[in-house]
């Protein structure tokens, strides 16, 4: 299979303009004859569904929560990047592009990333027009903060709840279209499979999560905006419902899955407390603007943080990376935390934590200012730990947070199945091997508001609406497969709960496919996961029926898919004999323990093709060409 990214011609900065000027269009009167399915109502899905409906297409919008407003994007805290250069501190589209490509450790496509940087400025305009209350300065202009991996202040924010405000903006646009009759909403619906007819994506099979009814939906194109797969690790910062099912089912229907092993571990999360732990809570990266990360210099120092004098503390990020200090990218910060913990210098009861200390910032800026900047994060920390971060340093540790990998898409965001698109976190497109903070919100909204409205027309213009009937044989077949699978999950009636399996899978992933990976461990993981999968299908216990609201059944389907995905992630990691970004192979590091890339052999997107349940997936390579920047060893010193 030849992977064609369909990158437009011309100089980097002209590609998107050239594309827009030459793309095929659908005449306004014809748009209303097309039916589109958008799965997901996070930033990517809600913005796409609203924008496509505004253009005149008929849109069906699906989400598994009870309301589109509750999609996982709502939880994003810190902010969204845009190359506005309002601060006059030297930012530009080029610099945002460059930071993102470099931050991704040169494993993303130049053309996509440049387009993202260009569109970033429109996003802020769009959101402000919708009434998103971004933070402002006293003069009434928009305020910015800094995030990791950048030396400019380009992050727009709304306290510590930027994702919420952006999503409510996109949700309001979506609901406006619902009112206008252009979007039909399907909340508490879960897509369980994709229907491909004559090689084109033509519909989905869903389960109504209240009644259990399995239903067919046909369309002229299907857009997935179903988020990331961080919950593969069981414990992550993702919402409990976040899952891979829509992408995974599409993979099994022929869409290639790219760079599955590019997973991001976020450096600042609240450490694990006990076995009952159900998720991990992020403490936004924005905290690293003012918080200082440290551990005691001495191993096994169990004194209280306040009792450790300044000269016995090791502010290791500031020491090792003087130019970026506490604002190094996430992968670097996480790895360094693991390193000091492995040395026995971790803090807290478990020893699996480092300090994030605000004492200096409070001295410098005052409590009120800190409250204004981070109040809700401090409150959240206090709720969870019962410790007051205004008085004692926070304890933090890395946790799984984001997945750069996802469905392979070309420049138009189309997967390898014609008519199937992937937007937002569920595609692999823009972040390479490591995502910079405040860039996921940017990508989701760029994809939904500004990219898909153009690119989908180029496909639809070649495919007249034919009002495909849901009684087509292909729908019948896939629906039966879905029903069989549901029936199978319910009939095993074994002895272990779904959560038990999920936790077990998470332990394997964290241990062998987590922050540091090596050949032996990855091989072991592949074996363990496949054994666990067999056991799942023999011993899982799912009570109740299909024809009712059945949360165990919902979880079981998702975990079954994670049990397949886990193996692909491990295989991807095993294939990539280099370290880059969030993918760290212990065998490949510099003398200073930094990631050692191998551009000669691995400067490609690894796109995996499903070949059957009993077969190994096939690897396809999209070679990355760097025409405008020169990949170099990343340095944040």
């Amino acid at each position: 299979m030849e992977l064609n990214a369909k990158i437009p011609q011309g100089d980097l900065k002209d590609k998107w303009s050239y594309y827009k000027g030459n793309v095929k269009l659908v005449n306004p009167a014809n748009k209303r004859k097309y039916n589109l399915i958008v799965v997901g109502t996070g930033l990517a899905g809600a913005s796409a569904a609203a924008s496509l409906a505004e253009l005149g297409y008929n849109v069906k919008s699906f989400c598994f929560q009870d309301s589109p407003r509750r999609a996982h994007s709502i939880a994003a805290q810190g902010g969204i990047n845009a190359a506005k250069n309002y601060q006059n501190d030297g930012d530009s589209v080029w610099r945002l592009f460059y930071d993102t490509i470099k931050g991704g450790d040169y494993r993303a496509r130049e053309a996509n990333v440049h387009r993202l940087a260009e569109l970033s400025v429109n996003i802020i305009d769009q959101c402000v027009a919708q009434g998103v209350p971004f933070a402002r300065e006293y003069g009434g202009l928009l305020d910015n903060r800094s995030f990791g991996g950048a030396q400019v202040s380009r992050t727009f924010y709304a306290r510590g709840q930027t994702g919420q405000q952006l999503l409510l903006g996109a949700y309001s646009a979506l609901m406006r279209q619902v009112g206008l009759g252009k979007v039909k909403l399907f909340p508490r619906y879960e897509m369980l499979d994709l229907v491909v007819v004559d090689g084109r994506a033509r519909g989905i099979i869903t389960r109504n999560l209240i009644t259990g009814a399995v239903e067919r939906h046909a369309a002229d194109a299907v857009i997935l905006a179903t988020g990331g797969y961080g919950n593969l690790f069981y414990l992550s910062t993702n919402a409990k419902g976040s899952n891979v099912t829509a992408s995974w089912r599409s993979y099994k229907r022929g869409a290639l899955f790219a760079n599955p092993c590019f997973t991001q571990i976020h450096p600042t999360c609240i450490p694990v407390k006990g076995d009952y732990q159900s998720k991990l809570t992020l403490m936004s990266e924005s905290l690293r603007n003012d918080g200082r990360v440290w551990v005691p210099k001495r191993k096994g120092d169990t004194r209280k943080p306040m009792d450790i004098p300044e000269n016995e503390r090791d502010y290791y990020l500031e020491r090792k990376y003087p130019s970026f200090g506490n604002l190094v990218p996430r992968d670097v910060a996480s790895r360094n935390a693991k390193e000091v913990v492995d040395e026995g210098r971790g803090v807290g009861e478990s020893g699996f934590a480092v300090y994030l200390d605000f004492a200096d910032a409070i001295k410098r800026l005052g409590v009120d200012e800190i409250k204004m900047r981070y109040g809700n994060l401090f409150d959240m920390y206090y709720q969870i730990t019962d410790e007051d971060p205004y008085k004692v340093p926070m304890r933090i540790y890395p946790a799984v947070h984001y997945t750069m990998g996802g469905l392979w898409v070309d420049y138009e965001l189309m997967t390898t199945i014609p008519g199937l698109y992937a937007l937002g976190e569920c595609n692999f497109s823009d972040h390479g091997a490591n995502r910079l903070g405040a860039s996921a919100l940017m990508q989701g909204l760029a994809d939904g508001y500004f990219v898909i409205p153009y690119t989908i027309g180029n496909y639809l213009a070649d495919h007249r609406p034919d009002g495909l009937d849901i009684n087509a044989q292909e729908f019948e077949t896939v629906e039966k497969e879905v029903n069989d699978r549901v029936g199978k999950l319910l009939s095993v009636n074994g002895s272990r709960t779904v959560d038990d399996f999920h936790r077990n899978l998470g332990q394997i992933m964290w241990e062998y496919v987590g922050m540091s990976r090596n050949e032996g461990g990855l091989k072991k993981a592949i074996k363990l996961i496949s054994e666990l999968r067999d056991e799942f299908w023999k011993d899982v216990k799912v009570l109740g029926r299909n024809e009712e609201l059945n949360q165990s059944l919902e979880k079981a389907g998702r975990v079954a898919d994670f049990l397949e995905l886990g193996e692909l992630v491990a295989r991807g990691a095993l294939n990539r004999n280099e370290s880059c970004g969030g993918h760290f192979r212990a065998e490949y590091q510099t003398q200073e323990n930094e990631a050692l890339r191998d551009d000669e052999n691995y400067c490609y997107v690894a796109a995996w093709q499903f070949k059957g349940d009993d077969q190994l997936p096939e690897l396809h390579k999209e070679n990355l060409k760097f025409e405008f920047v020169t990949p170099s060893q990343r340095s944040y010193k």
Binding site: R69, I74, E137, R159, L185, T281
Partner: protein
């Protein structure tokens, strides 16, 4: 309070098979509850035990478990989201309870929020209220530069205080009249305070309030229970703003 020791608790939980069935309270016990567990983690533990015993687990809504998605909606010992001010049930920790305590857990109760199963209710009425007018009518693309209109810090902070509503429905659940005034007021206050939302402010107020009434929410009791129980501590101010906007809108129409 618990002093870090494990607790044994007795729970009284509302069980209801579906919208059309009658529900009832059932008694359960959970032992060895750590004070560091969240309330939902305590329910997870109960559910794991139930499944192993072959009993159906308790259904409840949740997703982010960070107090921001508005999914969780438990009425705990007579209060929405439980005993602690300013937190959602998912952010409530077991250290707020003590060993041997009995805890009653119910769904939101309101005509406009029918029970779907156990502790899960249907809050789609909120979505329909937003559909009626909780937006600014702008299409994607073509917006002017974001700094072209200045907005004072006070206005933005006020708007954000209101727009941080998570749409959980605690305000409705606690209100004797099941009024949705705090929810509706929050959206009206958010948008009417910003220049972008101003042109449609009157139409918005009329349409949202009309929809609110149509959904079967009651009228405001002025007892301020909603603001007291709101996990985001949204103030009664927004209801005052809502009324003002509505009155102005009515006048304009006359």
């Amino acid at each position: 309070m618990s002093n870090g020791k494990k607790m044994n608790l007795s729970l009284k939980i509302w069980r209801q098979a579906d919208k059309n069935s009658a529900g009832e309270f059932k008694d359960y016990t959970v032992n060895n509850v750590s004070p560091d567990m969240s309330f939902l983690e305590m329910l997870d533990v109960l559910n794991e035990e139930l499944i192993i015993k072959g009993e159906e687990p308790v259904a409840f809504d949740h997703d982010c478990r960070e107090g921001i998605c508005g999914s969780c909606s438990l009425y705990i010992n007579g209060r929405p989201h439980g005993p602690k001010r300013g937190v959602t049930a998912c952010q409530l920790h077991m250290r707020s309870f003590h060993d041997g305590q009995s805890i009653v857990i119910e769904p939101w109760r309101a005509n406009a929020f029918p029970v779907v199963k156990d502790l899960i209710v249907d809050r789609s009425a909120f979505d329909r209220i937003i559909t009626a007018g909780g937006f600014v009518s702008v299409n994607s693309g073509g917006a002017a530069d974001a700094n072209s209109i200045l907005i004072s810090k006070d206005d933005v902070e006020y708007a954000l205080d209101a727009s941080q509503c998570i749409g959980c429905g605690a305000c409705v659940a606690v209100c004797k009249n099941s009024s949705a005034s705090l929810f509706v007021g929050a959206k009206i206050a958010h948008l009417s305070r910003l220049p972008q939302g101003s042109p449609e402010r009157h139409k918005r107020a009329i349409n949202m309030i009309k929809q609110m009434d149509k959904e079967g929410f009651g009228s405001c009791t002025n007892t301020e229970a909603c603001a007291a129980e709101c996990p985001k501590e949204i103030s009664m101010d927004v209801i005052v703003t809502m009324r003002k906007e509505y009155m102005k809108a009515i006048k304009e129409m006359e």
